[in-house]
Symmetry: C2
Subunit: 194 residues, 2 copies
DNA sequence: AAAAATATTGAACATGTGTTCAATAAAAAT
DNA sequence: ATTTTTATTGAACACATGTTCAATATTTTT
């Protein structure tokens, strides 16, 4: 049996309507009722598919996060397991965020639930974990990897928060440079020491 | 002119009622209406003081954050500007979070708005900034301090997120040890290098 | 103690929420 | 093409939201 056409149509209408509304007003001021009015969907039908407006928005974040994952999986120097590759990985994140800036402006907003932050966190964390697992260095014995990975991941997100708070005024080039500087004074991912 | 007694009474009633309700059910399921019923406050009066239920809860986070700030300002080896003091500072945060665990379980919840996270972020960030400003090291030239500080701050919050996600099962001692290990492999705050 | 100032109340209103249900429409299966 | 399945609809429900306003109660000022 195939996926019911009516379901697809309903969900697409709602998503399309949300896309229009978030260009007009803050996400947290959009009601289920007005979304349904615009989408020409019965409000009862809405609740058959989503719990609330965030349920509809989450679909977009999932698309966005999938794109980030895809860009991470691009084979650049994947054969080369050198630790310094953390930089190009993280720099990809900056391009990604800039690319979807309209959405990230929403995601990092004061009034928006933590769930979106956590979705981004989990995604970046999985990259970070892969990188750190590959290292498996002597000086990391005794460290619980989960804490190290979350520490590193959230550090990167800290840069994104700062970027958000200065309204994305820093250029990507400058941001890259800052990251490299920070990592160079402050990272297990550099050579020359230890 | 003094602060009106009626205002104090109203706000205290509401805060007291909220304290009761958050022990029974998730914060985001508490309505203005039921809070007012329990507090014996007219719903119209509520809106003279707060915008929503989060407005009431925020008061508690402000108290909590004030306590964190106070604990930070305790003079331990404040005369000694050594960089390694970052550790005791951050370790204080762990004690603080454990102390107010019931609240932080709410603050880090999926459904709760980012505002509480940012309030914590800003507080920890101000400690971190002080520490980093004091360092002013050669290898930090060219770094925009704002990015470095946000990076370091959010890294610490990353440990708290991890702690939250494993339901605070890691002991404070173990957490301290993990932090020291992470900082020792991964920090500008250690001696011996540079 | 009386007067002035102001916070709280109750009632009302339009709108939103989340749920239920039988009737209907649309799609999938035969 | 007909039958079977199921998604959507409209109507209704109790309750929540956010606002307004005149009446009342409480506090502060004099």
């Amino acid at each position: 049996m195939k996926q019911d056409l009516r379901v697809i149509k309903t969900q697409e209408s709602l998503r399309h309507a949300l896309l229009i509304l978030i260009k007009e007003k803050p996400l947290d001021s959009i009601t289920v009722a007005e979304l349904c009015r615009l989408a020409n969907i019965n409000r009862g039908t809405f609740y058959l598919h989503y719990k609330d407006v965030h349920g509809v928005f989450k679909h977009y974040l999932e698309v966005i996060v999938k794109d980030l994952r895809k860009s991470y999986e691009e084979p650049y120097y994947k054969t080369n397991f050198k630790i310094e590759n953390i930089k190009p990985d993280m720099i990809k994140i900056f391009h990604h965020v800039k690319n979807y800036q309209e959405f990230y402006q929403i995601i990092f907003d004061q009034h928006i639930p933590m769930m979106y932050y956590y979705l981004l966190f989990d995604t970046v964390r999985s990259f970070m974990k892969e990188t750190i697992d590959r290292m498996n260095q002597e000086r990391m014995k005794n460290v619980q990897v989960d804490y190290l990975v979350s520490y590193q991941t959230n550090a990167i997100l800290g840069i994104l928060i700062e970027w958000h708070q200065n309204e994305y005024s820093t250029s990507i080039d400058e941001l890259n440079q800052q990251l490299i500087l920070i990592l160079s004074i402050n990272s297990p991912f550099r050579k020359g020491i230890q």
